[in-house]
């Protein structure tokens, strides 16, 4: 910003259309303005948390849209790891239909995870969070009820997380992507719920009297997800 201000005397020159021949002096002026704008942009992105992993094992999700992408990436990592385990060690009594559907869900979540990693690599490679270590010690993967109850928690939480984060997203393309994913999570949630309790696909514990699904804040979601993740996640600046 200071660069631009210092060039204030050249405003008329600055406003000239780009197709006029650029004199050497004004070329440097453009270059200076660009550098100033870039510095401004970067400072807006970085804050003071560009070290995504702190010494104490805390992982910062970062700020702005990058923070939202990391937030989604963290949740998808958790879901993908969970279903990978479900598919690798199916619960006793699993039916062929259930195995087919749960395998499909595990693929969807792995695709979501890998997609967010690719999107972050393209948008902000220096701010991408690392692979997280899940903690599924409280899940009994040989027991149908334990597995499906945990799956229900993750799916309903995912829906509520995306619903709550939509308004934090500044970039239209990211909002569209989030919208494309949240309804698939809702379809998963409905299916898992029907497996646990037939007809509970949109029960009153998740859909209120106004016909609205849940929407949770970043803090609420991370509090619910934290017991399943070994690292401590910090989402204080997500969307800010």
């Amino acid at each position: 910003m200071s660069n631009i201000t210092q060039k204030g005397g050249d405003e008329a020159e600055f406003a000239k259309p780009l197709y006029t021949p650029i004199k050497r002096r004004s070329f440097f002026m453009y270059a200076g303005a660009t550098a100033g704008a870039t510095a401004l942009l970067l400072s807006g992105c970085d804050d003071d948390d560009d070290n995504v992993t702190m010494n104490n094992g805390t992982v910062s999700l970062g700020s702005g849209d990058v923070g939202v992408l990391n937030y989604a990436y963290a949740l998808e990592q958790l879901e993908a790891a969970f279903y990978a385990q479900v598919v690798a060690t199916p619960y006793s009594g699993i039916t062929a239909d259930e195995r087919t559907a749960l395998t499909a869900i595990s693929k969807h979540e792995a695709i979501h995870r890998d997609f967010f990693k690719a999107a972050l690599t393209a948008a902000a490679p220096g701010q991408i969070i690392p692979g997280l270590n899940p903690d599924f010690s409280k899940v009994n993967f040989s027991d149908r009820n334990s597995v499906l109850t945990t799956a229900r928690t993750f799916e309903d939480l995912g829906v509520a997380a995306y619903n709550g984060a939509g308004s934090l997203i500044k970039t239209n393309d990211y909002l569209l992507i989030a919208g494309k994913i949240v309804s698939v999570e809702a379809r998963h949630a409905a299916y898992i719920r029907d497996l646990l309790v037939p007809g509970s696909f949109s029960g009153s514990d998740v859909v209120n009297a106004q016909g609205l699904d849940q929407a949770l804040t970043v803090t609420q979601v991370l509090t619910a997800a934290q017991p399943f993740i070994k690292e401590t996640l910090n989402g204080d600046n997500v969307g800010k």
């Binding site: 695709i111 619903n163 809702a186």
Partner: protein
């Protein structure tokens, strides 16, 4: 429920559309007789040029536009399930858990109508004076479920298609979050209807999953799963390109089936395409 948004738009452009459509009903009946002999998916009922007249202005630029669009879709859905629960042809098959599920969905659609009407206040469009006529949709249980799937999947796509419009309009009173909260409920409905179709009563259609695999219509009108306009923004459900990555089956460091990639993302639809889907299956 973008279907409904379309209808309210029509009313704005042509306030007497409902009256004029009613007068055309005798002509439509003749068309209907012909279509009875055809499969449901091939039974388009032409609403006439009034729709097309409005389509030229089919850009939803204000939040009021979007909410009225949603209101019309929700009214249509509520009416669809309400008529189904009262249809004599469905009394026998629509019992037990199936009936309970449809009653649950109907209650949610009613709640959405109430919520949107309240939010719009005096700006709310009136309900269509002559209600909705779903033609042969209730003739059999299978047909009913096929229509229901088409409406729910379209509803999901329709809400999704308006998210950016709400954001661009300034997202007053956090309307975007409310729309998302309705949107995911519609997705839950869609998953359950698909689960019901999968069941024995509907003919053991075990290829039908709770999510949309490729652009498979499963007997529903094919356009529901096709592309919108522009295609770049509203691709068909078989799409495997997302976020500027042209093919997620090979671009993510692992190899995935196109079926799984397509199922992992639901696609949005623009209001014009939703309108065209609506007018192929609904008579006003």
């Amino acid at each position: 429920m973008n279907l409904f948004k379309i209808i309210s738009e029509l009313e704005k452009v042509d306030p007497e559309i409902m009256d004029r459509l009613t007068h055309r009903r005798s002509a439509l009946t003749a068309l209907g007789d012909l279509s009875k002999k055809m499969a449901m998916a091939a039974a388009p009922i032409a609403i006439g040029s009034a729709f097309n007249k409005a389509l030229g202005q089919n850009t939803l630029t204000t939040v009021t536009d979007v909410l009225n669009y949603a209101l019309l879709l929700e009214r249509l859905e509520y009416s669809f399930y309400d008529q189904a629960l009262k249809a004599a042809t469905l009394t026998v098959p629509l019992t037990g858990a199936a009936r309970t599920a449809i009653e649950t969905i109907r209650a949610h659609e009613m709640a959405h109508v109430t919520l949107l009407t309240s939010a719009l206040g005096s700006a709310a469009s009136p309900a269509p004076a002559n209600g909705f006529n779903f033609g042969t949709a209730f003739s059999t249980y299978d047909t009913f479920l096929t229509f229901a799937q088409a409406f729910e999947d379209t509803g999901v796509r329709a809400y999704k298609g308006q998210a950016v419009a709400i954001k661009t309009a300034g997202n007053p009173n956090n309307v975007l979050q409310t729309a998302l909260q309705i949107h995911s409920v519609e997705a839950r409905h869609a998953a359950h209807i698909r689960y019901m179709r999968r069941g024995a009563t509907a003919g053991n259609q075990t290829t039908i999953m709770p999510w949309i695999v490729n652009a498979d219509a499963n007997g529903a009108p094919a356009p529901v799963y096709g592309a919108g306009n522009p295609v770049a923004t509203f691709p068909a459900e078989g799409n495997v390109a997302q976020g500027g990555i042209t093919n997620l089956t090979t671009a993510l460091g692992a190899t995935y089936d196109a079926a799984d990639v397509s199922a992992a993302f639901d696609e949005g639809l623009d209001s014009t395409t939703v309108t065209n889907i609506a007018k192929s299956v609904v008579v006003f």
